[in-house]
């Protein structure tokens, strides 16, 4: 056990999987000697050699396309895209190629790839360095999407992702990268993809969230009156969504607030809201509330904290939903 940051826990998982399986290779811009711009791959090129930790040209579509080719030929590529805003040029290779190969070949060709991407706002970064595109990839069939927010979960989920026989997008909430530490076992362990975590139990209302927003929600919960009991669910995996855990909670509480950084419209809040009312219609005592980013582009950093749901806004959403 060691007290690790998210960055360190991910690094540890990468080390262990690269040691366990020769077919695991990392590729991306600056992942080599520099260890990536967030130092997530620090020391790996030195340890495993440049060929397994490959600096690539500055071409996101190239990174994903080459990774798909590696996977077709039996490797387990772990590409990194430097910031979620630069997934754009790689969109086609992810959605129309990586995601489709197994089904379009009826299983003859498969893509066991784990795409690592720092995600989300809150670190005062430049333009296109603070977005939250997870709904886009959730709507695209054939991908699994994971977004852990604690070092422990990150290590266990990354190992699961790398071992998964299908393409997984592993989103890393960059706001949490160095902001939080916890005990992480040295030994390898896995956390199953597709299982949400009940962070705190409660009877009055269910909050569903993921990524860095989990911490904002915890802060909001702290600010609530003592007699309010909120169940907080960290999805951890976004696709497939663990509807059972959410529905079981809302059947108990009768109220639900979904919190995410991405814009509201056609975001995952909508999907969760739709599922909750499909599954828990007769239990619902108030409409499912969405506390999310606005339907605007992510502002430059002077205004980013106004854009992202903070404890204040989340707290209000909870109180209003309770008052309904």
């Amino acid at each position: 056990m060691a007290n690790l940051t998210l960055v360190q826990a991910i690094n540890l998982a990468l080390v262990q999987e690269m040691e366990a399986d020769e077919s695991v290779v990392l590729l991306g811009e600056d992942v080599g000697l520099n260890g990536g711009v967030f130092r997530v791959t620090e020391g790996l090129a030195q340890r495993f050699g440049d060929h397994r930790v490959q600096n690539t040209p500055l071409d996101e579509s190239g990174i994903l396309g080459a990774a798909v080719g590696l996977a077709i030929a039996g490797m387990k590529p772990v590409p990194e895209i430097q910031f979620e805003g630069f997934l754009g040029p790689a969109y086609d290779q992810i959605v129309n190629h990586a995601a489709r190969f197994r089904n379009r070949t009826r299983g003859a060709i498969t893509i066991p790839m784990t795409l690592r991407v720092p995600v989300g706002g809150g670190i005062h970064a430049p333009e296109l360095h603070s977005d939250s595109p997870e709904a886009i990839y959730t709507h695209s069939p054939g991908l699994k999407i994971v977004m852990p927010c604690t070092p422990y979960d990150a290590k266990g989920l990354l190992i699961s992702a790398i071992r998964d026989p299908d393409p997984v997008i592993f989103f890393e909430p960059k706001r949490v990268y160095r902001a939080y530490r916890e005990e992480v076992p040295e030994d390898e362990y896995t956390i199953p993809i597709g299982q949400a975590k009940v962070v705190s139990e409660g009877d009055d209302l269910t909050v569903v969230t993921w990524g860095a927003s989990v911490f904002q929600c915890l802060e909001a919960l702290d600010g609530l009156p003592e007699d309010v009991s909120v169940e907080l669910i960290d999805l951890r995996t976004i696709d497939p969504i663990d509807t059972d855990t959410i529905a079981a909670s809302v059947e108990k509480t009768g109220r639900c607030v979904v919190v995410h950084e991405a814009p509201m419209t056609a975001g995952l809040g909508a999907e969760i809201s739709a599922r909750v009312q499909e599954r828990c219609f007769l239990h619902l005592q108030a409409p499912v509330q969405r506390v999310t980013g606005f339907d605007t582009i992510m502002p430059y950093y002077k205004l980013e904290l106004e854009y992202m749901p903070d404890a204040n806004r989340i707290g209000k959403g909870i109180r209003e939903c309770l008052a309904y």
Binding site: R52, G62, G65, I72, A73, R104, T105, R106, K144, P240
Partner: protein, 379 residues
């Protein structure tokens, strides 16, 4: 502007069997023998013939409503045949676009897979174990990166006698992913033969609107990639260029670029009408350069072919193609379960329920939700 020259380069063009079936012995003979023996040329001629026969049948199937849109390979056969033949079956990977039926078949893919693909059936992409082909690729340009990745895997695993070949059209060279594939392959230094079938058109867009360069081959200069232009309707030139390119790739662990200068004798696909945008004259000029005609003439000049063998081949080809069509048609209709079963190695509960109920509406999936009975199941 006055300046110092710091870089010089050129492009060369290879032609052996020209459109009048004249054979350039200085290029086509090695160690006293033609680079392709008569038997080999006969074999390739037959393959090209069968390929074209399949094209014609596919066209008819489409016209009679038994197949979807189909892109004919007609006129370009020497590219796929000569290059496919030069690569090592079972060792090398073939990463095609959609005008390389013959190369896929030479590498072991039964032809009915290709028909199934165009008949709207994913089982046409379910490449059999051991056949090292990716399926036909409909989106333009994106598959070349996969070839680069496949070749990279050879390098990572230290498999030194393997190579990938990828095919694409002149139009495809405009896509960003073409650039990416060329750049990745050359910077990673991995063995891929990039084979461009420059058939002068991308649907209705002529080469001059597609690129400002007089050759496609010069695009390889941007990547410092060895390259050659060949007469793509010349089975000898195509074969020799690809054979040598493959050797070069494997020995030097680098990619190689081949531009096959050719022409699409048919419409773009069965959904197209080329008369809308290109002249009959141009078509006629290229008809005269047909690879099948000149290959036959070559064989005849060597007494390796005659009218009788031709008749035999035609009968044989019709039979072969009929069998292929029967094979494709005999496959049972797909079940709706297939829509779901291969989405993931293991499909999750949500997908399982969608599959089992063929419904997305929550009540349709859980009839008891509304006190409904099984009548709501998939009818």
């Amino acid at each position: 502007m006055p300046k110092n020259t710091v870089y010089e380069t050129d492009i060369e063009f290879l032609s052996i069997l020209d459109e009048d079936a004249q054979f350039d012995e200085s290029l086509g003979i090695e160690d006293g023998e033609p680079i392709l023996s008569d038997e080999q040329v006969v074999y390739l001629y037959e393959q090209m013939w069968i390929g074209r026969q399949l094209d014609e049948i596919a066209f008819k199937l489409q016209r009679s409503g038994r197949m979807g849109t189909y892109p004919q390979n007609k006129g370009q056969e020497a590219n796929a045949a000569g290059s496919g033949f030069a690569m090592k079956k079972g060792t090398d990977w073939v990463v095609p676009c959609y005008r390389e039926n013959i190369a896929m078949n030479l590498h072991g893919l039964p032809y009915h897979y290709i028909l199934l693909h165009w008949m709207g059936d994913e089982r046409g992409n379910q490449i059999p174990e051991g056949v090292l082909c990716t399926p036909i690729s409909v989106p333009i340009g994106t598959h070349m990166l996969h070839a680069a990745g496949i070749a990279w895997s050879f390098k990572l695993r230290g498999e030194k006698d393997r190579c990938a070949i990828t095919y694409f059209g002149d139009g495809a060279t405009s896509e960003g992913d073409f650039h990416g594939a060329m750049n990745f392959a050359s910077t990673l230094s991995v063995p891929v033969v990039f084979y461009c079938q420059n058939n002068q058109w991308a649907i209705s867009v002529p080469r001059e609107q597609q690129m400002a360069s007089p050759t496609v081959a010069q695009k390889a200069i941007a990547y410092e990639m060895p390259r050659i232009m060949v007469d793509g309707n010349d089975i000898f030139a195509v074969y020799k260029a690809t054979r040598d390119a493959r050797k070069y790739c494997v020995e030097n662990q680098t990619p190689y670029f081949i531009e096959g200068v050719t022409y699409r004798l048919g419409d773009h696909t069965t959904a197209d009408d080329a008369r809308r945008y290109r002249s009959e004259e141009e078509l006629q000029q290229w008809m005269a350069k047909d690879p099948l005609i000149r290959t036959r003439k070559y064989l005849e000049s060597r007494d390796a072919w005659n009218d009788e063998r031709q008749l035999e081949l035609e009968t044989h080809a019709r039979k072969v193609v009929d069998e292929i069509v029967n094979e494709a048609n005999s496959i049972a209709e797909p079940t709706t379960s297939e829509i779901f079963d291969s989405m993931f190695a293991e499909i999750d509960d949500d997908l399982r329920i969608q599959r089992d109920t063929m419904r997305t509406s929550s009540i349709g999936q859980n009839p008891e939700q509304a006190g409904l009975k099984a009548q709501t199941q998939n009818a």
